[in-house]
């Protein structure tokens, strides 16, 4: 207390009894009976549900225990993880390209990117996956060459008959459309002055993007991208549309079709999905921390936040403080 008094003499003008140190307030706490009742009701409902579920035969808990660490299930969980990782990597890269295309001054480039977004965001991902499953019927092979001549190369599209490849390519193409919008919002959130300062220092467009703009845009891009990863992990269960059945949900269903135990295997699959999404949430937390460097720091020796001086116009934007909320 005395410290802040010397630093800010203005506070000294307030009357403060007992040499600047006042008694802590002792008062009867306001009671909130409504809260307690509501909490009790919710806990009771939860306990009731758990006890009831534990004794219900239809859940088949013994099967849950039997299959949750089944080799087939864990192998399928790995397939689901691979699908998620591959499709997100391609989706993010393609989304970055599409975002830059949408911000391009070239109207044709801009329109092509818009068209892509229009198609891939405007149709259900399930329908897209069915379409990619049939793709090799439409284009068994593609001839790339000079028109009306024999010059060129014949591309064999046999790999598009591999259901696993179709699955992550199909998911990635759909994801790219969403990532493009996320990346675009991130790039636009970086203050124009940053690009100007880099340009004035003689940095090229590429250097400006990779060293200055994108690292700052990451702060805005990462939280929704984390959501996209989590969402993708769950969307992989739609690959049955292609059809691909080696993923977590597909294998769980296949096993249950033989053993006639659909409900326990749904629970097994859900437990694995929950495990992965929980891990992803932890990873997202650390990534967000890494990319908010220089934003949350405050000068310990100053009373007002330095942001007030206008150093970080981008950080002052409406998206500046809700990072935690989106995760």
């Amino acid at each position: 207390m005395s410290q802040s008094n010397t630093a800010r003499p203005a506070t000294g003008s307030f009357p403060s009894p007992a040499g600047g140190r006042s008694e802590p307030i002792k008062a009867v706490k306001l009671r909130h009976p409504g809260r307690i009742v509501l909490a009790a009701v919710l806990i009771l409902l939860l306990v009731w549900f758990v006890v009831d579920a534990a004794n219900r035969d239809a859940y088949g808990w013994q099967y849950v225990g039997k299959y949750v660490f089944d080799k087939r299930i864990s192998a399928a969980a790995l397939v689901t993880l691979q699908l998620t990782v591959y499709s997100m990597i391609i989706g993010v890269l393609l989304g970055l390209i599409l975002a830059v295309m949408r911000l391009s001054p070239n109207p044709v480039v801009k329109s092509v990117a818009w068209l892509y977004l229009w198609v891939f965001r405007g149709t259900p991902v399930y329908v897209q996956l069915v379409f990619w499953g049939l793709f090799s019927l439409i284009y068994p092979h593609i001839f790339l060459g000079v028109p009306w001549t024999q010059l060129g190369i014949d591309l064999n599209l046999g790999f598009m008959q591999n259901a696993f490849v179709i699955a992550f390519v199909g998911l990635a193409l759909n994801e790219a459309a969403y990532m493009a919008e996320i990346v675009r919002a991130g790039l636009l959130s970086v203050d124009q002055g940053q690009e100007e300062a880099a340009t004035a220092l003689g940095m090229s467009w590429w250097q400006t993007m990779t060293r200055i703009v994108i690292p700052q845009a990451m702060r805005v891009i990462i939280p929704p991208t984390g959501n996209e990863v989590i969402s993708m992990l769950k969307t992989t269960s739609l690959v049955a549309a292609i059809p691909l059945t080696t993923d977590l949900y597909g294998v769980a269903r296949d096993i249950s079709a033989v053993t006639y135990t659909p409900i326990p295997l749904l629970i097994v699959a859900s437990l694995w999905y929950l495990l992965f999404t929980s891990l992803l949430m932890v990873g997202q937390y650390f990534l967000e921390k890494r990319f908010s460097r220089g934003v949350n720091a405050r000068r310990p020796d100053r009373n007002e936040p330095a942001m007030a001086t206008g150093a970080l116009p981008a950080a002052g934007a409406p998206d500046g403080n809700d990072l935690g909320g989106k995760g």
Binding site: A197, A200, G294, V295, T309, A311
Partner: protein, 258 residues
């Protein structure tokens, strides 16, 4: 403006610039010789910041001729024809012109020292060790030796602007442009930035400064320009222009700010 033998550092002849139908610069003629400090004053919207941004081609000039150290800004001259520069060539021109912005525009995700060494490493290809050595010297020069590992958000406005000046100096520019460098600062922080600029001026740096600090202009500038409505209304010795303005518009402006 009298010595016509040396190559002028900045030479503007009839420089004009419009944003849409809004004509911001209407034929600016200016000359800054090497080692000189030119201050530009004028009401907001008079085009002084736009003119400054034209000098390093952040804005493209519509008409007239603007050259820095004998080279046309943003174009290459072949006979009578001008060819627009490729981005790479424009970047090469810019790296010899340092710019300090009103809102500092430090890179918030880098520490003060990282801000300073970024361009020398990436653009000039300096080794990291060399860049750090030079960056440390520059931090000392602006009086911030102990702040190298601070992020911009941990620095006061005045400290941030001094880092921004050091960042511009790290590219060893032959010309420094200042766009209202103290306008975004709390009053008590203005002095520390002006002191650094005064030191820079006395070391012989050629400077073009858009400012509202009349005291600085009077003390440091070799030449003062008063701009209004996109034209140079009055120019000359700063003590003359400030003390005995000839033009009515200059008198009206100075009566409000002095």
């Amino acid at each position: 403006m009298t010595d016509t033998n040396t190559t002028p550092m900045v030479l503007a002849e009839g420089v004009s610039k419009s944003f849409g139908s809004n004509e911001v610069l209407k034929g600016i003629d200016l000359r800054v010789n090497p080692g000189e400090v030119l201050c530009i004053i004028g009401p907001s919207g008079s085009g002084k910041s736009t003119f400054l941004r034209c000098i390093n081609h952040l804005e493209r000039v519509d008409a007239g001729r603007l050259s820095v150290d004998g080279e046309v800004v943003g174009y290459r001259q072949h006979g009578d024809k001008l060819y627009e520069l490729k981005p790479k060539e424009a970047a090469r021109q810019r790296r010899e012109i340092g710019m300090v912005f009103q809102r500092f525009n430090l890179f918030p995700h880098m520490t003060a020292l990282e801000n300073i060494i970024e361009a020398p490493i990436r653009v000039k290809g300096l080794s990291k060790a060399k860049a750090v050595e030079r960056g440390t010297q520059l931090l000392a020069r602006v009086g911030l030796s102990d702040k190298g590992d601070h992020y911009p958000s941990q620095l006061s406005g005045g400290q941030q602007q001094r880092v921004a000046i050091a960042r511009a100096l790290a590219m060893d520019p032959k010309l420094m442009l200042f766009d209202e460098p103290t306008s975004a600062l709390d009053p008590e922080l203005v002095g520390e930035v002006l002191d650094v600029m005064k030191g820079l001026a006395s070391s012989g740096m050629t400077m073009v400064v858009v400012t509202h600090e009349m005291g600085f202009a009077r003390e440091v500038a070799d030449e003062l320009v008063f701009m209004d409505g996109g034209v140079v209304v009055e120019y000359g010795d700063p003590r003359e222009v400030l003390g005995n303005p000839q033009h009515q518009r200059t008198q009206a402006f100075l009566s409000k700010v002095l």
